[in-house]
């Protein structure tokens, strides 16, 4: 069957060429046009300070999106990443401010928690066989609740008053804050550097190593992957562990940026992260999760939000635009390249 569809594909007409061009570069062209439009509308948009703030705005959910790329690659999804990041914010504040412990310990505890939650997700999906969406949705609610428990539902900042009327003894350590607010060599914001580092690691793992190949194989045909000896269950659990750990890292950077443990942090992180990863499908028309596309997707969302703010669009319109763009991008890649499966 499919061989004929593909022979159809071989038709080398002009329209075919444009179609392929559109699938490959269409998204980047739209992005460039939007960039030009915003710059024309308000020259402030083009200032380096603003461009950096676009990049910075993207970092947190870009990091989360890079993590969730793994579940997406194995044809799953992790909805708990937003709440894992929020938990990370609260726990790092709790460890440093309330327990007066070191930033390193805070980081280790957060990463361990993220990995643990990912492992539980993986267990629920692989062993208990709960569909990935439901398992991670449940986990999302669970973690959202858990993050409020240590502080009794209060935000934790420097000198916060605790449940017993005691003033919290500790504070965020300087090097911890450096992760969110500092600049490497005074130029590159640390958060951006972390994002790039995560992107490089994800790219290397997914595109260049044996593991990455197996991850993609599992996503495309899990049974075939199993029958060549791949430990499919282990890989699937690992995908969620990675996603949870990276989400925790995103939370750490967020905590470092705001410098306090805010109960309401992480609100839109989930949707922005998953939106970035899904828009990443459209970038270069590869129709599969890929780290480069994810980063571009995250920057795109951040640029869009930044530009719309400059045009004084109210926040509720922004969400609407964001959603429309996501749907349009997906319709574009999947609709135009129907014949490829």
């Amino acid at each position: 069957m499919s061989s004929y569809i593909d022979q159809d594909k071989m038709i080398q007409s002009k329209s075919e060429f444009f179609k392929r061009f559109a699938i490959r570069y269409g998204f980047l062209i739209v992005m460039a046009m939007l960039f030009a439009f915003f710059s024309w509308w308000n020259p402030v948009f083009l200032r380096p300070v603003n461009l950096f703030s676009i990049l910075l705005g993207a970092t947190i959910y870009a990091i989360l999106a890079l993590g969730v790329t793994f579940p997406l690659v194995i044809d799953g999804l992790d909805l708990s990443i937003g709440s894992v990041a929020a938990l990370s914010v609260m726990i790092s504040a709790y460890v440093m401010v309330v327990l007066d412990a070191s930033g390193v310990l805070a980081i280790l505890v957060c990463l361990a928690l993220g990995a643990g939650i990912g492992a539980i997700n993986g267990f629920l999906i692989v062993r208990v066989k709960i569909p990935d969406l439901l398992a991670t949705l449940g986990m999302m609610f669970l973690v959202q609740g858990v993050q409020l428990i240590p502080s009794g539902g209060r935000s934790i900042g420097r000198g916060a008053v605790l449940a017993g009327g005691v003033v919290a003894p500790g504070r965020f350590s300087d090097y911890f804050l450096f992760l969110g607010q500092g600049r490497i060599f005074g130029i590159v914001p640390t958060a951006v550097a972390i994002m790039i580092a995560v992107a490089i690691v994800v790219f290397v793992v997914l595109s260049l190593t044996r593991w990455g190949r197996v991850f993609y194989a599992i996503g495309s045909n899990a049974e075939a992957a199993r029958l060549v000896g791949a430990k499919v269950d282990t890989y699937r659990v690992m995908a969620y562990v990675i996603s949870g750990t990276v989400a925790a890292l995103g939370g750490i950077v967020l905590a470092a940026r705001v410098g306090r443990g805010d109960v309401s942090s992480g609100g839109t992180l989930l949707m922005d992260a998953i939106g970035s990863a899904l828009i990443g499908f459209a970038v270069l028309g590869v129709r599969r999760p890929n780290p480069f596309g994810t980063i571009v997707g995250a920057i795109f969302i951040s640029m869009l939000m930044n530009g719309l703010s400059m045009m004084n669009m109210p926040y509720y319109v922004q969400d609407f635009v964001k959603g429309s763009v996501l749907v349009a991008a997906l319709a574009f890649t999947f609709g135009l390249s129907k014949g490829r499966t």
């Binding site: 499919s2 593909d6 071989m10 080398q12 290397v204 045909n221 075939a224 029958l227 060549v228």
Partner: protein, 512 residues
């Protein structure tokens, strides 16, 4: 109806895909009550012809005539309404597995907008019963299709295609997943249809069947009509017209047998595959290609799964070159050099997202690794050489796997297991939808490279095994009931062993 006049006719049909000429000036008449077989190698243009007739390709050259009048089908639906029904190769596209037989048989009615919201279920049931009776279906109508065997599903798919009383029925590889006995039931049904005046277009790689069934055979080669054959046919003529001469394989006997006689590569000792099944004993010599046949459910695949670590045996030993291995996981089996090419490549072997290179190197990425990074360059070199030695027809290592014909896809998933040295390689139904030329290519490659290792080829179709095996072992209800060496193969005797109702452990006793 049975007057021999052309019901349908296609004249000078042609079709190009880009620079590829898929079909060139093919003219065929379809007569009422006639079974016309179309044969050809993979990619010869059979499927293109079918797809034009059944309205899938609206863009073609030439004419289609229905009872003398020219028509042009733009959609499969238009062809269907003009009395052309098609049953495609993949059975499960022709039935809805989650529905009952009755619902499947009346699906067209159930989905029609004219059906009232609260419809008369009993009336529909009667209709389904009627269809079943005409077709000679002996299946419980209330059963869910997913509980049925492949052949029963195939029958239902055909029955569904016949609901509209078509004048031309197109069957694409209808027996590719049926056993000999199941196919027999299908053939009986086709006989009844012919008597009813239905014209049948039959596509198959199984030339024996065609020899038995067809009234006329058209051979297509490289998109052109190569030959029309009338009864009585010779299978040899068909093959020659399809692909040219194919040499017989050199059986183990003609190779160096002495050395291999004494040395065993694989030995199964009292291996109990599942509870309640008598233990199996089997010996395979070094350098031997063993054919394993039997009906669906005879226990062939179960045995392969035990050898490959997918399932655990109840008891017994698997010995490779004298050493007990008993793999507990697939991973362990692969480590022990036991490789398995599963049946149903689309479901179990092909990674649709991957190109040819990625599909081929998947099991042994380790050999292409340098400091943890997979070297695409090294992969390409290896894959290129495999493409060449196995005769895979493709544009290059980076082509999409879906751009290949079925036979060539099969070569890719076979090749993936020949990248590393094996101790035992098992092919489970490797020739489904694979033409004789590709079968020969795969067979020759395995034969040339087997060295002192061993191979097991599992196939329900005995003829496929005769083409390649040194020895054929027959399983029946989980028990090995007989075997024949290549030089002494007696097709009828094998068929008898395959089909007989087993009650005999006599054979087992006799080899002890």
């Amino acid at each position: 109806m049975k007057d021999g006049n052309a019901l349908f006719e296609v004249q000078n049909i042609g079709k190009s895909f880009g620079a590829t000429r898929a079909l060139d000036s093919v003219s065929v008449e379809f007569k009422a009550g006639e079974l016309l077989a179309v044969v050809g190698a993979n990619g010869a243009g059979k499927s293109t012809l079918i797809k034009i007739i059944c309205g899938y390709h609206a863009d073609y050259e030439g004419k289609i005539l229905v009872e003398g009048k020219e028509v042009h089908f733009h959609t499969p639906k238009a062809a269907y309404e003009n009395g052309i029904a098609t049953v495609h190769q993949i059975i499960n596209e022709g039935v809805v597995p989650s529905m009952t037989v009755f619902e499947n048989l009346t699906l067209a009615k159930l989905l029609s907008p004219e059906l009232p919201l609260f419809y008369d279920k009993d009336k529909l049931r009667d209709e389904a019963r009627q269809i079943a009776t005409t077709m000679g279906l002996e299946i419980d109508l209330e059963k869910t299709v997913s509980d049925l065997s492949q052949s029963e599903r195939q029958m239902i798919a055909i029955a569904r295609a016949l609901a509209n009383k078509p004048k031309l029925l197109i069957l694409d590889e209808p027996t590719s997943s049926l056993s000999e006995r199941e196919a027999g039931r299908l053939f009986a049904m086709l006989g009844r249809l012919k008597e009813m005046g239905v014209s049948i277009l039959y596509v198959s790689h199984r030339l024996h069947e065609i020899n038995q069934l067809a009234d006329r055979v058209i051979v297509i080669r490289d998109g052109k009509m190569a030959k029309t054959l009338h009864r009585p046919f010779l299978v040899k003529d068909m093959v020659t017209a399809m692909v040219g001469e194919i040499p017989k394989h050199s059986a183990l006997a003609e190779r160096d047998r002495e050395l291999k006689e004494t040395n065993l590569q694989l030995e199964l000792r009292e291996l109990v595959v599942a509870e309640g099944i008598p233990p199996l004993n089997l010996k395979i010599r070094k350098g031997e290609i063993l054919g394993l046949t039997g009906l669906i459910g005879a226990g062939k695949t179960e045995l392969a799964q035990v050898l490959f670590g997918i399932k655990q045996p109840v008891s017994g030993e698997i010995r490779l070159s004298g050493k007990v291995v008993n793999p507990r996981t697939i991973y362990e089996a692969v480590r022990a050099g036991i490789f398995y090419v599963p049946e149903d490549r689309a479901e179990n072997a092909v990674i649709p997202l991957f190109n040819i290179r990625q599909n081929m190197t998947l099991p042994f990425l380790g050999i292409f690794e340098k400091i943890g990074i997979v070297s695409t360059k090294a992969e390409k070199v290896k894959v290129k050489s495999m493409i060449k030695s196995m005769g895979i027809k493709c544009e290059g290592t980076e082509s999409e796997i879906s751009s290949l014909s079925g036979g060539n896809q099969q070569k890719v998933v076979v090749a993936r297991w020949l990248l590393e040295k094996y101790n035992l390689v098992i092919f489970d139904e490797p020739f489904q939808g694979v033409d004789i030329r590709s079968r020969h290519d795969i067979g020759e490659y395995v034969r040339e490279n087997i060295g002192d290792k061993a191979a097991i080829i599992i196939a329900t179709d005995i003829d496929e095994l005769i083409e390649i095996a040194d020895r054929i072992v027959v399983m029946n209800k989980g028990v090995i009931v007989g075997e024949q060496e290549y030089e002494k193969i007696n097709r009828d005797e094998l068929l008898h062993l395959v089909a007989q109702e087993t009650n005999e452990n006599t054979y087992k006793e006799s080899i002890k």
